[in-house]
């Protein structure tokens, strides 16, 4: 399953980006700089989805004590942190031509994305400093849940504070406010990046489970079975 996800994700992403980069007509207001949307929006979307996923997994792990959920959280964190960083970087690159500044403190989405990066880093720092794995799992899951209050703040901050950031392009009532030749590459790159993220997450989780269960019988059987 992993290779299928990986390859289809990669293909969709390549399609979306190439189309977005070269073929989509340029925006009449923003010119060609709007093309950054094809990397900025998917990255921001993934960074939030990764965090929601981690919060969901943390919830499951703490309530029903399912071990694999912890492995999912651990594997999702570095990926999420990378894409948060990417969303910040491209957001800032987009802000420079559009707003005339690299960084706009008044913009709530930019700042809460930064806070989310701090949450990811704090999570990883907490994990790294607790040697006992089960303890680290549970404590960091609590931290994730607490940090999850940050996600609604990110989402609603657009309405809470007036800001420079344009409203969301996709999630509007009355259909997306974007022309079809611009829209399809965007959707393709979002879905593609999600699939890609999913495949990487699965690989990392697999490795994490292997690491945690290295003394158990089935792993030994599996590896010896592979070699026969």
């Amino acid at each position: 399953m992993i290779p299928w996800l990986f390859i289809s994700g990669l293909l969709l992403m390549v399609y979306g980006i190439i189309n977005g980069l070269f073929y989509a007509p340029s925006d009449y207001q923003q010119g060609d700089a709007f093309r950054i949307i094809y990397v900025h929006v998917p990255a921001a979307y993934i960074s939030m989805m990764a965090y929601s996923l981690m919060a969901f997994a943390a919830f499951i792990a703490l309530i029903w004590r399912i071990k694999i959920a912890h492995a999912v959280i651990v594997s999702a964190a570095p990926l999420g942190a990378w894409f948060t960083f990417l969303a910040l970087l491209t957001g800032s690159l987009w802000g420079r031509p559009m707003w005339g500044t690299w960084w706009e403190w008044g913009d709530p989405r930019l700042t809460s994305e930064l806070l989310m990066l701090f949450l990811y880093l704090g999570y990883m720092a907490l994990r790294a400093s607790i040697p006992n794995i089960t303890k680290a799992d549970k404590l960091s899951a609590i931290l994730i849940l607490i940090g999850a209050i940050n996600i609604p703040i990110i989402h609603y901050s657009v309405e809470w504070w007036t800001s420079l950031h344009q409203g969301s392009t996709l999630l509007k009532s009355g259909g997306p406010s974007i022309a079809a030749p611009m829209l399809y590459p965007l959707l393709a790159s979002i879905i593609g990046l999600s699939l890609f993220f999913g495949s990487l997450l699965l690989i990392r989780t697999k490795a994490e489970v292997l690491k945690r269960e290295k003394h158990s019988r089935w792993i030994k059987d599996m590896i010896l079975g592979d070699e026969v």
Binding site: L21, S26, V39, W82, T90, L200, L210, K220
Partner: protein, 55 residues
Amino acid sequence: MIEFFAMDYAYYVYISFLSFITVVIICTNNAFKHHKITLDRIKNTIHQMSDDNET
């Protein structure tokens, strides 16, 4: 098809696309490497154990 460097703000656009690709590559590389290293390590210990059993 649009000219490569003729679009406005070309550098901003290209830097952001390049950074995107870089991050994707870094993540992929990390994930596969991580997976391979764990697998190798486990294989080594298992082989060691079976070697110990034989001797």
